[in-house]
Every structure is written in structure tokens, then in C-alpha cells.
Symmetry: C2
Subunit: 157 residues, 2 copies
DNA sequence: CAAGTTCCTTCGGCTATCTAACTAATAGAG
DNA sequence: CTCTATTAGTTAGATAGCCGAAGGAACTTG
């Protein structure tokens, strides 16, 4: 087994852990990964337009419509017509939505964060440098990457 | 922006690049990421049981049945009843399937492999060590990770 | 041999996703 | 100011992936 295989295996473990986290999350929060990701985006500012959510998640607007439908049905967000441009709709976080976001079990991130913080200064720096280097090697430089460890936003052509 | 955010962002870029690769692949090979992943697994030995494929991909057997249906329809694999245990079916790679696997554009992997190989010995070792460390921090130790850079055991493309 | 177990498939039902077509509203060119 | 083009969002119809439950066929075990 070559070294490149070793590195690919490690990468795959990382991705797999994230996938599993998504499933766990979905189960615990009663939301799917995609739904939760949309909710997160709305939660950043408290509101967001479907267009912007679609761009952030890299999916079509139609997809967001149905996703938001589900969030609305769960009363996690509301659709508020925009005052400035009446073509626009503001998907707005509800108090319940805020609750769900706050309560969301981010076990994976917590675990990672804790382990990360236990590292020494130079170890942290080194991990960041290496991860960024790997990301570059995969040519993922121009990606919209929020510091949130989730699945579900796949960029499309 | 804290260091942990930096590291999460880098992780996210890595995952994103892989997702994009999956899409690209799907388009070029005329297969979805999940289908391709199943084909890859079958291709390793030339055959595999649905049960084993399901385990490898972390999905139910029912899912594999429909996935294999599609591969069979495209004549990439065949279902051969097992001689030893007639409950089992061997999903067997066809010549066409082998062709598709060989022709598959593994651009991302190639790119990564090339960049990786250009690194010095100690850099390679250091990257592997770091990736493995991160994987451990995410608690993904006991994952079946083949040295193939694919997504597709997601639950939602 | 009968009962339980295993492997696979079938069935019904979700969710996510897309494209195309449609409605409503704004922006721009005359 | 009006007509057209563009933009935001939704709706409709389709495909893919996924699951759990139920069922049939073939092993295993007592």
C-alpha cells in the first residue's frame, strides 16, 4: 500500500465521519442534512432569500423552494415578502428555528474542537497548513466554505 | 476568525472538492456517484455480493438491489447465481463495466496524486500523519475506507 | 424434518434534485 | 411612459437514492 493510498484513506475517513455526522444530526434534530444546512444559512443573518440560499448551497432555486416548504411546515422559518423588491421573499428564522439551531447536537464539531484545542500552538498551525495544502492539491481553492462542518451543499455547474 | 475555523474551512474545501469530483465523474461516465461507487467495489475483485456492497457503502440491501438493477440495465454488471450458496448472487463485472472503470476520468485523483508525488519524502509522511490525526479527532477510526477518493455513500445526492 | 436464519428482491413511500414552464415585479430602451 | 427583457420565486413532472417491511428461496441447526 503506497503512501498516496494512505493519504486517500485518511481523507476518506474524514469524509465518512462527516457523512455519519450528517445522519446523526438529521435524526436528532428531525431534519435532513440539506434542510439543516439551509436553516443554518438562514440563521446566519436571521433571514436570507431563496436565491442566495441556492447559491450558497450550489443547488437550483427550485430545490430551495421545496426545502423551504419543509422548513415552513415545521415552523422553523417563515416567508416574508420583501419590502424593497417585491419579487423577493425573505426566508426568516422563527424563534423555533433559532431554538433548533441552538440545540442542534454538533457532537462531531464539539469533539473535533475539543481535541483541536488541546493541541499545542504549533501543532494547530501545522494541521491548518497541511489541510490547506491538501485542499489546494485537490484544487478546491475557490470554494465557498463556511466554518461549519456539514454536508449537503454540492456545487453544480 | 479562529484557528479552529480555519481548519474547518480547509476540511470543508477538501470535502467539497470531492463532491464536485463525484459530479464530474457521474457526468463523464454516464453514471451517478452512487452507481459508480458500486461499480468500483464490484471492480475490485471482479464480483461482489449485494450484501457486501451494502456493507461497504453503508446503505441497505434494498438500496443496492435498485442500484445493481441500473448497472445491469446498462450491461456493466451481470447477476450470477452463486454456486456455493444459492441464496447469494454474485454481481459480476462485465467487459463493458471494466471498460467504463478503466476509462473513468479520475481527474481529481490524478491531480492529487501528481501533486502528492511531487512532495518530498518527509512532506508526504507529514501529510499522512496529519490527515490521520484529523481523522482520529473526528472519531472516524473504525471506518471501512478504501483508497479511492469518492463520495457516494451519502445519503442525498 | 421443522424452525429459525440469511440473502436477496419487491413494494410503497420519503427526500433531494433537476429542467422547463409560469407568474409577478423590476429595470431599461425608446 | 410603454414595451420588452431580466430577475425572483414557484409549480409541475421527472429521476435517483434511500429506507423499512414483507416475502420467497436456500442454508443451518436442533
Amino acid at each position: 500500500m503506497s503512501r498516496i493510498d494512505d493519504s486517500l484513506i485518511a481523507l476518506r475517513r474524514i469524509m465518512r465521519a462527516t457523512e455519519l455526522y450528517g445522519k446523526e444530526l438529521a435524526q436528532a434534530a428531525g431534519l435532513t442534512a440539506a434542510q439543516f444546512r439551509a436553516l443554518q444559512i438562514v440563521g446566519e443573518k436571521g433571514w436570507e432569500t431563496p436565491k442566495a440560499i441556492a447559491a450558497r448551497m450550489g443547488v437550483s432555486q427550485a430545490t430551495i423552494t421545496t426545502l423551504v416548504d419543509k422548513l415552513v411546515r415545521r415552523e422553523l422559518v417563515t416567508r416574508e415578502p420583501s419590502q424593497i423588491d417585491r419579487r423577493q421573499t425573505n426566508v426568516t428564522l422563527s424563534p423555533i428555528g433559532r431554538q433548533v439551531l441552538d440545540d442542534a447536537p454538533d457532537a462531531l464539531q464539539q469533539k473535533y474542537a475539543r481535541a483541536f484545542e488541546d493541541l499545542s500552538d504549533w501543532e494547530q498551525a501545522q494541521i491548518i497548513a497541511t489541510l490547506e495544502r491538501v485542499a489546494s492539491m485537490l484544487d478546491a481553492e475557490d470554494i465557498d466554505a463556511s466554518p461549519v462542518l456539514t454536508m449537503g451543499d454540492i456545487k453544480r455547474h
